[in-house]
């Protein structure tokens, strides 16, 4: 029998196999090539994003207020941990053997679990071959003690990170702090990845985009163990990370620190503005905290709950968000509006009759200037009555309705009752009541001036933030206009934002201001004025005190609490350099007792660089006010 034809079976096996493989290769490498190219990219090419350190912040004098400090993470890769001596390692880190093991266990569990459809089991995201931070955010000092011994422990290495540092430890409520992004932020903005830091408060939050800089991208080739093997195509597509340019604030960090010193053991605020530019020189919120306490996850975990739980609310930015009744400082505005509306004249006089509102003992004011000096309650009651009930309608109810709205419009032009466009988050608008407000609370046509008279002396429903009040001081200094108060002077030499170069005019003509301003001068410098303690040698200061009565509802009964002490001022009288508002909560006494001297100390410090009135300084610093808890 001849089996030679069987060679064809074998030959056809060879040929069919060759053809089949050729076809399959053609399919894979030519037809379906994109699928595999994508898969190859997914496997071996990694896009590493490099986040630059955040922008450095300077104050108006070029002092570095916020900088970046290098920190280290101690990384571990379990797969590479050979002959791991937990005892010796723990000793190096100051931990016990069990603590080391617990930490590793915590890392494994902390990575979360997911459902694996292949094994049909829930399994952890943790992988032996990936690096995880065994210890986070070690300082250079701590790391220098560990690093020399790390070669004994395979699988451990150091990684450099950067964190914020605040050399002055002040201005926390202005600067804000950073913390890790949450899932919503990751979803909303592609810039963020898990564990990225984002500005959580203050200007860090408001200027997040300006602070974070431009990310760099590096395309690398990675191994199956996720190690970098080389750069992709010699870095042809790589871009470098660009740190955001330096940010210069209008803040004077020395003044800020001094203000915080003065406000120790008190609750309240100091806001100082440079009237000619609208730059905020200092914004003290008392009590405050050291911004370095909220740097890094470790610190945040430790201190944040304490700060949140503190009954004095150090995290609360009072100057921006705390709405106070302005008290007598409000009278300046009533006088100006009255003159502008021509319901009073600079030399109008009203008797201090104390019939409707109380007053302290002084001679009846015969002019606006004198009324401001004495802060005469009946005078301003009368002025405001004339503003609000101008006699345009027969019914005094309807008349008040119209008058109040005119009055509110004036107030809005002073930046009150509206949110200022200041470059910080957490601002509140305060409250300037208008007809709608009272219609809502009291019923339409159910109220007239006599019902709402408290607003004439800055009590009742009127509420403003200290920042707004400081802006009023700046308006006084400028005699009728203001630049929106702002923090950032320039970014990368450019600035400020065009919005802050727009002069906002109030509805009161400049010609009416000198009468009020003169009253403010007398208030400080003349006998019988309410703020003699605000005097500074060689400087003409204009100021106005406020004493805010406040009540609190406790168990259904109104309890009168100690007065707030308020003072607004600017100096010098001609060509003013600083406008200021000071609030001291529940200090007792009047505006002249606590707020006025505090303001004068800040002004003195700013204008002269030092404070000569040591006795005054000591008195303020030693004072423990505001029902301190």
């Amino acid at each position: 029998m001849n089996f030679d034809t069987r060679k064809y079976v074998i030959i056809s096996f060879f040929i069919i196999t060759g053809l089949m493989y050729g076809i399959k290769l053609f399919y894979m490498q030519v037809v379906d090539v994109d699928t595999w190219k994508l898969e190859a990219q997914r496997i071996a090419e990694k896009r590493r994003e490099i986040t630059p350190p955040r922008a450095v912040v300077f104050d108006r004098n070029g002092n570095k207020v916020v900088e970046n400090k290098t920190y280290y993470n101690l990384m571990m890769v379990e797969e590479e941990m050979i002959d791991f001596d937990t005892l010796a390692f723990g000793k190096l880190l100051g931990m016990t053997k069990n603590e080391v093991l617990d930490r590793i266990e915590a890392i494994k569990e902390g990575e979360g679990k997911y459902y694996n459809p292949h094994t049909k089991k829930k399994q952890t995201n943790y992988q032996r071959i990936r690096p995880y931070a065994f210890l986070k955010e070690l300082t250079a000092d701590e790391m220098s003690k560990i690093a020399p011994h790390l070669d004994r422990f395979h699988g451990f290495y150091e990684e450099v990170t950067s964190m914020r540092n605040y050399p002055y430890s002040s201005g926390a409520n202005i600067l804000g702090y950073l913390s890790e992004v949450n899932q919503r932020e990751i979803d909303n903005d592609k810039f963020y990845k898990p564990a990225y830091k984002i500005g959580r408060a203050g200007i860090e939050r408001f200027y997040e985009k300006e602070f974070r800089g431009k990310k760099g991208v590096k395309y690398i080739i990675t191994s199956a163990r996720q190690n970098t093997v080389g750069s992709f195509e010699d870095g042809k597509y790589d871009t470098t990370a660009v740190q955001a340019k330096g940010i210069v604030l209008g803040l004077d960090i020395d003044l800020q620190a001094y203000g915080e010193e003065l406000m120790k053991n008190k609750k309240g605020c100091i806001v100082a503005i440079e009237p000619s530019t609208g730059e905020i020189l200092a914004m003290v919120s008392a009590p405050s905290y050291d911004p370095n306490l909220l740097v890094g996850r470790k610190n945040i975990n430790k201190y944040y709950p304490k700060l949140v739980g503190d009954l004095n609310k150090p995290l609360f930015p009072r100057p921006l968000a705390s709405e106070y009744m302005p008290g007598s400082t409000f009278k300046l505005l009533q006088a100006l509006i009255g003159m502008q509306e021509e319901v009073i004249y600079p030399n109008s006089g009203f008797p201090c009759n104390k019939s409707v509102v109380g007053c302290h003992n002084h001679a009846s004011a015969t002019s606006v200037t004198e009324a401001v000096k004495h802060s005469c309650n009946p005078y301003f009651y009368a002025v405001t009555r004339r503003i609000i009930q101008q006699g345009k309608k027969k019914s005094s109810f309807e008349d008040s309705h119209i008058g109040l709205n005119i009055w509110a419009k004036y107030m809005h032009s002073f930046g009150l009752g509206v949110k200022l466009k200041t470059d910080i988050t957490g601002l509140r608008a305060g409250n300037i009541p208008d007809s709608k407000y009272y219609d809502h609370w009291r019923g339409k046509g159910q109220w007239k001036f006599s019902a709402i008279r408290s607003i004439s002396i800055g009590q009742g429903e009127v509420q403003l933030t200290p920042l707004q009040l400081a802006n009023v001081a700046a308006i006084m200094a400028n005699r009728g206009w203001y630049y929106t108060p702002h923090f950032v002077k320039s970014i990368d030499g450019k600035g400020p934002h065009p919005e802050y170069l727009v002069k906002n005019r109030t509805m009161v003509d400049t010609k009416y201001f000198p009468y009020v301003v003169e009253g403010m001068r007398r208030c400080v410098h003349e006998p019988g004025g309410t703020a003699p303690m605000a005097r500074i040698p060689d400087v003409v200061t204009c100021g106005k005190t406020g004493t805010v009565e406040n009540f609190k509802l406790v168990n259904g009964r109104l309890i009168k609490k100690p007065n707030h002490s308020v003072f607004i001022a600017f100096a010098p009288m001609d060509n003013p350099k600083i406008a200021i508002a000071v609030f001291i909560e529940n200090s007792g006494g009047g505006g002249g007792t606590w707020a006025a001297p505090t303001a004068s100390l800040v002004i003195e410090r700013y204008l002269k660089g030092e404070v000569k009135s040591k006795a005054k300084e000591k008195r303020i610093m030693d004072a423990k006010l505001s029902l301190w808890k």
């Binding site: 030959i11 056809s12 096996f13 089949m20 076809i23 894979m28 090539v33 699928t35 898969e39 496997i43």
Partner: protein, 472 residues
């Protein structure tokens, strides 16, 4: 017996040329894959390319040695050589295991694998047995003795265990088939048990080996390909299930097979070829459908076991692999091959199949086709497939021109062993064959495989060069 004056006699330069081309391609790929800038010299023995150069040198020396010895010696000493190989296979079982198998004899990188050399010993003895004068091809006894010659080393290798080499030993079944050995007596005995059935011969028994091969191959392919549906990016929602792909592939194969048979056979046979194609196609479809439905009806734990064996899923534990763990090795190798594209990424530009990135494990040995395909693209891959195919056809041509049956059987043994290695190795790199760890002949890194394939081919060249001296 007449001796040729020239030592080379009528030397087959084509086969030798193909051999050299493959060796050079192989070393260049190993160099690319394992390139270490600290030891850039190809002769640096600290690196695997340096060691491979050494193995190539040793292999060429052994080849020369084989060539210098008279070819008759191998025939006469076929039984001692075979027994020596068996002895080595027994000794190796007492060696310490490396990677879970007692396959290595010797120390470290200079060890040898007796399993590789046992193929040669078996080939020589099988050739010797089948060419003996007293062997009748149609005899059941012949089949059993041949099977025994193949099965003894196979069993010893199973004990190591080295599944890949065991599979390769089934290559000898095809040689038996070519030589007319038939399983018909065995099949008939079973079939004729059925009352009323009296077959004199069955087609199944006569062509038992190739049919078995086709059945196993289709079974495996069905299970692998049937799992992965083809998705069209342009038409989301439309998918082409793996079984439809199988159907399409079978249809294509049937048409190509029919055309080939028409071309190869005489006109009279063309009609028969048509019937064979139709019959083969419908049987394959039936088989595929059966496998599919059987597999679907299996309990899930058995499914998983089969999937693991096929390499569709890889056991996750201890692999250290990143990612899903499913089908890891095959998928990585396929990624390397597929991402090569038409022209490839360029020499030493492979990112996936690279010992440094190590995305494809064993990319210098079992998976060496993937760096080659990644770097040289479709053109390079096709060139390699064509070279191997030409080499195989050349060996068949050499086999068929032999006067001595001994030479022919040996040549077919070489052809079939090379075919198995080629088909399995490249097949698993392109996802057509389950992962079976055997090297790509003359290409993969490794001393034993280099030496054994070299000896195999040089012995063939020697036999061929002296073919005219032999009287059948």
């Amino acid at each position: 017996m007449r001796k040729n004056d020239s030592i080379t006699g009528s030397f087959d330069w084509i086969l030798f040329g193909l051999y050299l081309v493959l060796v050079v391609f192989g070393v260049s790929t190993i160099y690319s894959v394992a390139y270490n800038p600290e030891n850039p010299s190809i002769f640096s023995f600290d690196e695997i390319y340096g060691r491979q150069m050494m193995w190539v040198g040793i292999s060429l020396f052994l080849g020369l040695l084989v060539f210098l010895i008279d070819s008759d010696i191998y025939r006469k000493f076929s039984i001692p050589i075979y027994l020596f190989c068996l002895a080595l296979l027994i000794i190796v079982l007492f060696m310490p295991p490396i990677n879970g198998a007692r396959a290595w004899l010797g120390i470290g990188p200079f060890g040898i694998q007796p399993g590789e050399f046992a193929k040669i010993g078996t080939a020589i003895l099988l050739a010797n047995y089948l060419s003996s004068f007293n062997v009748k091809q149609q005899n059941g006894r012949t089949v059993l003795v041949s099977l025994a010659i193949i099965a003894i080393p196979m069993l010893l290798i199973i004990l190591q265990p080295d599944a890949g080499t065991v599979v390769v030993f089934t290559a000898f079944f095809f040689v038996m088939y070519r030589e007319g050995l038939t399983f018909d007596p065995i099949v008939l005995k079973i079939v004729n048990i059925i009352p009323g059935v009296r077959f004199k011969s069955t087609w199944l028994g006569t062509h038992f080996i190739p049919i078995l091969f086709v059945v196993v191959f289709l079974l495996v392919i069905t299970l692998i390909v049937g799992h992965t549906p083809l998705l069209f990016d342009a038409y989301p929602g439309h998918e082409f299930s793996g079984y439809w792909r199988m159907f399409a592939a079978l249809l294509t194969t049937a048409i190509i097979g029919y055309l080939l048979m028409r071309w190869l056979f005489s006109k009279r046979d063309a009609r028969r070829a048509f019937i064979v194609a139709i019959l083969g196609f419908s049987m394959s479809v039936l088989l595929t459908a059966t496998v599919h439905s059987t597999f679907k009806s299996l309990p899930s734990h058995q499914k998983t076991r089969i999937e693991l064996w096929l390499g569709i899923y890889e056991a996750e534990e201890g692999t250290g692999n990143v990612g899903d763990g499913a089908d890891y090795n095959r998928r990585r190798a396929m990624t390397a091959v597929g991402s090569g594209g038409f022209t490839g990424k360029g020499y030493r530009e492979a990112n996936i199949a690279n010992t440094k990135t190590n995305h494809v494990p064993e990319c210098e040995t079992d998976f060496i086709f993937s760096p080659w395909a990644e770097e040289r693209g479709f053109i390079g891959s096709l060139v390699l497939v064509v070279i191997y195919s030409i080499m195989l056809l050349r060996i068949v041509a050499i086999a068929e021109r032999q006067r001595s049956k001994y030479n022919r059987v040996y040549a077919y043994c070489v052809a079939m062993i090379l075919f198995y290695h080629f088909a399995i190795n490249i097949g698993m790199n392109i996802g057509l064959v389950p992962i079976i760890g055997i090297p790509l002949p003359l290409f993969s890194y490794g001393g034993s495989s280099m030496m054994s394939f070299s000896i195999m081919i040089f012995l063939l060249l020697k036999l061929d060069s002296q073919r005219k001296d032999v009287l059948n």
